[in-house]
């Protein structure tokens, strides 16, 4: 029941009891961790998606054909899109990792909060035909919107709890994690399965290209000579529960802080001062009741666009003065849009769990105006609080903080 229970408010810590991820550097959490440790880059020429830009730009493509994903996942229902399949892949890993049984998954107090910006629009040609009434209609008529992904997961697992889809562009799944945490804190849900997904699509490739923010080379976050971002695809899900409900379970981390703030400057770029990023990071610290010096590492948004990396650097300098160790895993997997917040949340949790940080790749020289240098080698490091940033179009900025238990 969606009624806020007074007595449950603010008392419990929200913990992560399961994680799942698929990206261009691995199909599982373990594969992703190994690749991050080794500094592997999954940004390559397209081999599956057909696009005019296939030979011109590299992408963080997952090299499993859609038909193969369908077989592996036993997802042969009509109308299932690549986006839904990637989501299902990560969702399965997360629920198995948390050992959720079917009773728990179908319980009325288990919420599913997913994020997507592409949804079924990965099927550009089918959507074009259906929208322009070219023929009798494809099998995908109900699969184009962002919600189709979570409705597929809900139907497949016969979930009865609250289901939601969030789209705040590139910060979507950071907001899904925040929303899921709040649902549990408010008593509306006992546990929440939260995450995000996007697959590569001609729609987003051409959209970002029209905005001149795609790089024809492999992206170089926080480098003075950066030329733009590489789009990627992937999915990640996390299982959130109250600490007292997770007794006896493997607890990865605490969701200790989160904040959503708007830059209110421009529909597709951030302000020079970086008010949105600054306020999101500051608000997350406040929520976690931490001072800035307690953050040991930042998984930066770090898209490698001219605008983002300069603004994010400025905002980090404003807030931290002396900026903690930071890196951008977009140099490994590209920008996975609505999946980015959740994938990077999983990476932040891996940082905490293994007390290690992963290198930012392809960096050469600091941005002249800010001088910040990202971490460039794999290293062990004592970590208690890790911040993860996600900033998107329409000024939507969100920051999360994960902490050791």
């Amino acid at each position: 029941m969606n009624k806020i229970e007074q007595n449950n408010f603010k008392l419990s810590r929200i913990v992560v009891t399961g994680i799942g991820v698929i990206s261009a550097i691995g199909n599982t959490v373990a594969e992703n961790r190994t690749a991050l440790q080794e500094g592997k880059c999954g940004i390559t020429a397209l081999s599956l998606l057909s696009s005019k830009y296939a030979g011109i730009m590299p992408f963080g493509e997952i090299k499993i054909p859609t038909e193969e994903l369908k077989k592996r996942l036993n997802a042969t229902e009509p109308g299932v899109t690549r986006t839904s399949l990637l989501a299902l892949h990560a969702f399965n890993e997360a629920i198995n990792d948390s050992k959720l049984n079917s009773e728990e998954i179908t319980s009325f107090d288990t919420a599913l909060i997913g994020a997507s910006t592409v949804g079924g629009m990965c099927l550009t040609d089918e959507l074009y035909n259906d929208a322009n009434k070219k023929d009798g209609g494809s099998e995908y008529l109900s699969s184009y919107d962002c919600a189709s992904v979570n409705i597929y997961l809900q139907e497949r697992y016969k979930m009865n709890g609250l289901v939601n889809t969030i789209n705040t562009a590139c910060s979507s799944s950071a907001n899904a994690i925040m929303y899921g945490s709040r649902l549990i804190k408010s008593g509306i849900a006992k546990r929440a399965i939260v995450g995000g997904v996007d697959s590569l699509a001609k729609f987003t490739i051409n959209g970002f290209n029209a905005l001149h923010i795609l790089s024809s080379d492999i992206c170089t976050p926080f480098d003075e000579q950066r030329k733009g971002l590489n789009l990627g695809e992937g999915a990640a899900f996390l299982i959130l529960e109250k600490e007292e409900d997770a007794v006896g379970k493997n607890i990865y981390a605490v969701v200790s802080g989160y904040c959503n703030s708007n830059d209110s400057f421009h529909p597709s770029s951030l302000s020079d001062e970086g008010d949105g990023p600054y306020l999101a990071m500051k608000g997350a610290l406040k929520k976690a009741d931490l001072t800035a010096d307690k953050i040991s590492f930042i998984n930066a948004h770090g898209t490698a666009t001219e605008n983002n990396d300069a603004v994010e650097s400025t905002a980090m300098l404003r807030l931290f003065g002396s900026v903690p160790a930071f890196a951008s895993t977009k140099s490994n997997i590209g920008h996975t849009l609505a999946a980015a917040g959740a994938i990077e949340a999983v990476y932040s949790i891996l940082n905490l769990t293994h007390q290690e940080i992963y290198p930012s790749l392809h960096y050469k020289q600091p941005i002249a105006t800010t001088g910040l240098v990202p971490i460039q080698t794999y290293q062990k490091m004592p970590l208690q609080h890790v911040m993860s940033n996600s900033f998107g179009f329409a000024g939507n900025c969100s920051s999360l903080i994960f902490s050791t238990i």
Partner: protein
């Protein structure tokens, strides 16, 4: 729980500023399209670039923004937002074979463009979110607003919903059997006994906070579910009412999302059968058509009825002997699988 202080609505009927919902505006070729205002407060340069969903969304929100200088966040529900611009951009991709494209359709097509535009126009750096869960997008926005007000009882939020009918999503939904083949009028809307409904759209905005003083209405509770089983809906509704309706009170009015699609009638009948006999039932989709955030219009309609105690005759399905309306249940479903109950009461 939250209090509604202001509500505005741009819809296919005369619902904006000078409100008159006793006279009906008819659908054209089974499409009910919004009556757009002149948008005098939006700078022309910005207005020209706005997608229709963004335009009507901003238009509905502006009277509230002007009156309440302190808004602590924008919480938006929309299934698709700028569908027109989305497919325009897609058509460019195909027609120009991924050539040199202009980004404005792409930027305007993202569902969070409305929330972003509202933040931008008001220089508001607070909470800003867009829920896009198809037929429960607005419902999730309500849940979000309720949680925000629980966390920050002193705050004001703009809660809003928008969806547009474009030629493109009309085609997609028509191909999947959502619309009637025969042309129908408002009067015959519920009498066809055929599949499908007609398409619709609206932009609705509410100022919500935790202050009961001078509130229009109190939104007591909301529940959402995904099912195609009407028995489960009956059970969930009984539990919802038992849990949320104050002791010794009853529902005076059911606002039903009945949409003329004979495949979905069983759900509305199940809900009617679960409630007491002596209640008034009003319908609204002959005024709006069917779309994913039609429930936002229903909540606006509930606020109107609570304020005026007038239920337009054309919307009445059944009239109870008792005329005073205090407690309203909104039941809506979208495409037979996404259902919501919203309980609204007059604040007294």
């Amino acid at each position: 729980m939250l209090y509604i202080h202001q509500s505005t609505c741009i819809s296919p009927q005369q619902t904006f500023l000078d409100i008159n919902i006793n006279v009906l505006h008819e659908p054209v070729e089974n499409k009910l399209k919004v009556i757009e205002p002149t948008y005098e407060d939006i700078p022309p340069g910005i207005l020209r670039r706005m997608a229709k969903a963004v335009r009507i969304g901003v238009g509905a929100a502006l009277p509230i923004i002007k009156e309440f200088s302190r808004i602590d966040g924008f919480i938006i529900g929309t299934s698709n937002a700028g569908m027109e611009d989305c497919i325009k951009f897609l058509n460019q991709i195909i027609q120009y074979e991924e050539g040199i494209l202009t980004p404005s359709n792409f930027v305007q097509s993202t569902p969070n463009a409305l929330a972003g535009q509202l933040g931008l126009l008001t220089k508001n750096k607070n909470y800003n979110i867009t829920h896009v869960h198809r037929g429960l997008a607005f419902e999730n926005a309500i849940v979000d607003a309720m949680m925000m007000l629980h966390e920050h009882p002193e705050n004001n939020y703009l809660l809003s919903a928008v969806d547009e009918t474009s030629a493109y999503n009309y085609n997609i939904d028509r191909l999947s059997g959502c619309y009637k083949n025969e042309i129908i009028t408002c009067e015959k809307f519920y009498q066809t006994n055929s599949t499908g409904s007609i398409s619709g759209e609206s932009a609705v905005a509410f100022l919500v906070n935790g202050d009961k003083t001078n509130a229009t209405a109190q939104l007591l509770a909301i529940h959402t579910l995904h099912t195609e089983d009407e028995v489960l809906i009956e059970k969930q509704l009984s539990y919802f009412m038992e849990k949320n309706l104050p002791a010794r009170q009853k529902i005076d009015l059911l606002i039903s999302g009945e949409n003329g699609d004979n495949r979905l009638l069983k759900y509305y009948t199940a809900v009617e059968n679960t409630l007491e006999d002596n209640i008034t039932i009003a319908r609204f989709k002959h005024m709006t058509g069917e779309y994913a955030t039609a429930s936002a219009f229903a909540v606006w309609f509930a606020c109107q009825i609570l304020q005026t105690q007038n239920i337009p005759l054309h919307s009445l399905k059944k009239k109870s002997s008792q005329s005073n309306v205090k407690n309203i249940l909104v039941y809506n479903n979208y495409k037979g699988s996404q259902h919501s109950f919203i309980l609204i009461a007059k604040e007294n």
